[in-house]
């Protein structure tokens, strides 16, 4: 019985490892590989940590199982090993993890800086103003583009173009937008892009990402914002720059359509 218990503590980490091993094939893994360069770097970091952690996991669980097994197989009546600890062991298992942890911490810094520190943003985004404003509200995403040829202002302008739950962005270049909220806190979460940023009442937060591949990407809300939190569903449509321009023109045409003279409006 004792041995069985010791084996029990060997057995379950094994199951855990196997589950993780087969998970990607069964779709229990990232929704897709990262579709933005920064996202790929996040994935790389994830896998790096995964490796480190897996090693630690196997090591510690194995050690635990091992000492239990030793305890289980100890002969009846034999004495426990009397020891208050070991100074050198303590030193080793303080210094080694410390080293690993500091390494992980330092290694991450620049990805974080690129994502969040304004002066590290890609040059293009620094040069141009934000492309649009994404405003979360209970329970939808409102996107406001400036009138073509104009810059985005913090205050809505008469010529601004609006859409709801659909965000068109050009591929192949960094896109920066202003994230805001109309009411409570929300979070802009694009799983395939690995982008997440809260929208905080009272702040305008610039966010950027870059998509290489044209396609539709999910945009969901990741901060509890009320009963409809789960249904703040939107799409990020990534398409070549010309198409985005076309789309915006179309948007402008639609918006200026007054129901009578369709043709007069487009000059």
């Amino acid at each position: 019985m004792k041995k069985l218990w010791a084996l029990f503590f060997f057995f379950w980490p094994l199951v855990a490892l196997i589950v993780c091993w087969i998970a990607p094939d069964r779709g229990w893994w990232f929704p897709s590989e990262a579709k933005s360069p920064l996202g790929s770097r996040i994935d790389d970091l994830f896998y790096l940590i995964l490796v480190i952690v897996t090693v630690v996991f196997i090591g510690t669980q194995f050690a635990l199982g091992y000492v239990l097994w030793k305890g289980a197989t100890k002969e009846e009546g034999s004495e426990a090993y009397f020891s208050h600890g070991s100074h050198s062991l303590e030193l080793i298992w303080t210094v080694v993890p410390a080293f690993v942890l500091v390494f992980i911490a330092l290694y991450q810094m620049d990805v974080w800086a690129e994502f969040r520190v304004k002066s590290y943003y890609p040059e293009e985004t620094l040069k141009d103003g934000p492309m649009m404003e994404v405003k979360a509200r209970q329970f939808e995403w409102r996107i406001r583009y400036p009138e073509p040829g104009k810059d985005l202002q913090n205050q809505p302008q008469p010529g601004d173009l609006y859409t709801v739950n659909e965000m068109h962005v050009p591929t192949g270049k960094p896109v920066k937008f202003n994230l805001r909220t109309d009411d409570v806190q929300h979070a802009f979460f694009a799983p395939q892009l690995r982008v997440k940023q809260d929208a905080v009442a009272g702040l305008i937060i610039p966010v950027w990402f870059m998509i290489e591949e044209a396609g539709d990407y999910d945009l969901v809300c990741a901060e509890l914002c009320g009963w409809g939190h789960y249904k703040m569903r939107a799409t990020i449509v990534a398409e070549p720059e010309e198409k985005v321009a076309e789309y915006i023109e179309q948007l402008q045409a639609d918006q200026n359509y007054d129901g009578v003279a369709a043709d007069e409006d487009d000059e």
Binding site: K118, L203, I204, P206
Partner: protein
């Protein structure tokens, strides 16, 4: 208790006088209206710290207590100073554009208002009527 051999009526009275003088000082600093408001702030806060030290040392007998006082008060002080400091980069100065209308649109309106109201009308004495 250790302070007994030390304490005396007179002693406390001196502390009391010191506290009163300090209070007077902070009022005086306020009335002096320094060019730079910062000077006032630093001065009155320094006075406050001095007063606090007096109260703690003498009235609360810390001067006469054992070393446990450091064990208790050092972490407390660190936390008490550390918390506002840690909040500063986020709340005190906003890294991202703050949208306080007070600073923007409203601010202009208020500036105009203040300019037009400068020194007029509102000379009522504050409070308690």
């Amino acid at each position: 208790m250790a302070h007994e051999e030390n304490g005396g009526h007179l002693n406390y009275f001196a502390v009391f006088i010191a506290l009163c003088v300090f209070t007077g000082l902070s009022v005086v600093f306020d009335l002096l209206k320094f060019e730079n408001r910062l000077i006032t702030i630093v001065l009155v806060l320094a006075v406050a710290v001095a007063k606090a030290m007096c109260v703690m040392m003498f009235f609360m007998h810390l001067k006469f207590e054992g070393n446990w006082k450091y064990v208790l008060l050092a972490p407390t002080t660190i936390l008490a100073i550390g918390l506002p400091l840690a909040l500063l980069p986020d709340i005190g100065v906003a890294y991202y554009t703050p949208l306080a209308p007070q600073a923007g649109e409203w601010g202009e309106e208020m500036q105009a208002y203040k300019a037009s109201h400068h020194g007029s009308g509102h000379a009522e004495s504050p409070d308690a009527e």
